[in-house]
């Protein structure tokens, strides 16, 4: 596969390490009530869609960026890639 790196253009996916669903960015608040249940759902449950999937790839053999790639799990077609750090900010994770 080829990952369209937002800074470096098309790159062989072999340069990357895959993690999984972008929801892994949404780490719950440790002080929230029912935090254990929230962490359980966060860490263990997946939508696992057959279709568009936003997922985390690490450019381990490249520039060490974490990317959020949008890919169709039925065809492997990739329709977008963003820096995960920017996605995290839009998800309100700025400290």
């Amino acid at each position: 596969m080829i990952i369209p790196h937002p800074l470096l253009g098309p790159r062989d996916s072999q340069e990357f390490t895959y993690l999984g669903d972008v929801s892994l960015i949404d780490r719950p608040d440790w002080q929230a009530t029912g935090a254990v249940d929230q962490f359980h759902d966060y860490l263990y449950l997946r939508d696992n869609p057959a279709g568009l999937h936003r997922e985390l790839w690490f450019h381990e053999q490249g520039d060490r960026s974490w990317l959020v790639v949008t890919r169709d799990t039925r065809t492997h077609e990739i329709t977008g890639a963003e820096l995960a750090r920017d996605v995290a900010r839009t998800k309100g994770r700025s400290t």
Partner: protein, 188 residues
């Protein structure tokens, strides 16, 4: 002055150079290296300080720039490697940190890496057998890290289709050299 003798990444007292067919593979040991990372919220101050210290703007993603004494290589978002002559800049990290202050985090990298300069008529044929980046299309000034025979490795185009630098973690020196020379023989 201390009295310890240095060893090259390949384990020799002096840098190794060999010619196979139309390519020359040279172990380069006379460059000092440090990583420079712009700190959070310091972009402006860093740019100013860096321009003053390095005499130019930091290179864009996928590129490197030559300079005297500092060459700069983009290595990641907000992160670069700075290279300079080892003889004059053995303590490169301190020198750069002094110039950039709190606008950047600086880490000595000189001995973390092995560098081979590969030059000659068939250098592209050689690299085409080793790494997935489009070396044939790389122009002078291009620099990127990729995977080469299971080794993470910077591929730096010094002269289009003529001269490349390969920089990999130092402990891989022997295996990287083996890969380069084997590929060189295969395209010779």
């Amino acid at each position: 002055m201390h009295d310890l003798a240095a060893l090259t990444p390949l384990g020799g007292a002096t840098a190794k150079t060999e010619t196979i067919g139309a390519v020359q593979i040279a172990e380069i040991t006379d460059r000092a290296l440090a990583s420079v990372t712009c700190r959070a919220g310091q972009a402006k101050a860093f740019a100013t300080a860096a321009k003053k210290l390095f005499g130019g703007a930091m290179p864009d993603p996928g590129h490197w720039t030559a300079g005297d004494p500092f060459g700069l290589i983009w290595t990641g978002p907000d992160q670069w490697f700075a290279e300079a002559p080892f003889a004059s800049h053995e303590d490169i990290a301190r020198l750069i940190k002094a110039g950039l202050g709190d606008t950047a985090s600086v880490t000595e990298q000189t001995d973390g890496w092995v560098r081979f300069d590969v030059t000659g008529a068939t250098v592209v044929d050689l690299l085409e057998r080793l790494c997935p980046v489009p070396v044939r299309r790389m122009q002078t000034g291009a620099a990127t890290r990729t995977l080469l025979e299971h080794m993470g490795c910077f591929v730096i185009c010094r002269t289009t289709a003529q001269a490349f630098s390969l920089i990999a973690p130092r402990s891989f020196a022997g295996s990287l050299h083996h890969a380069l020379s084997a590929a060189a023989r295969s395209v010779a």
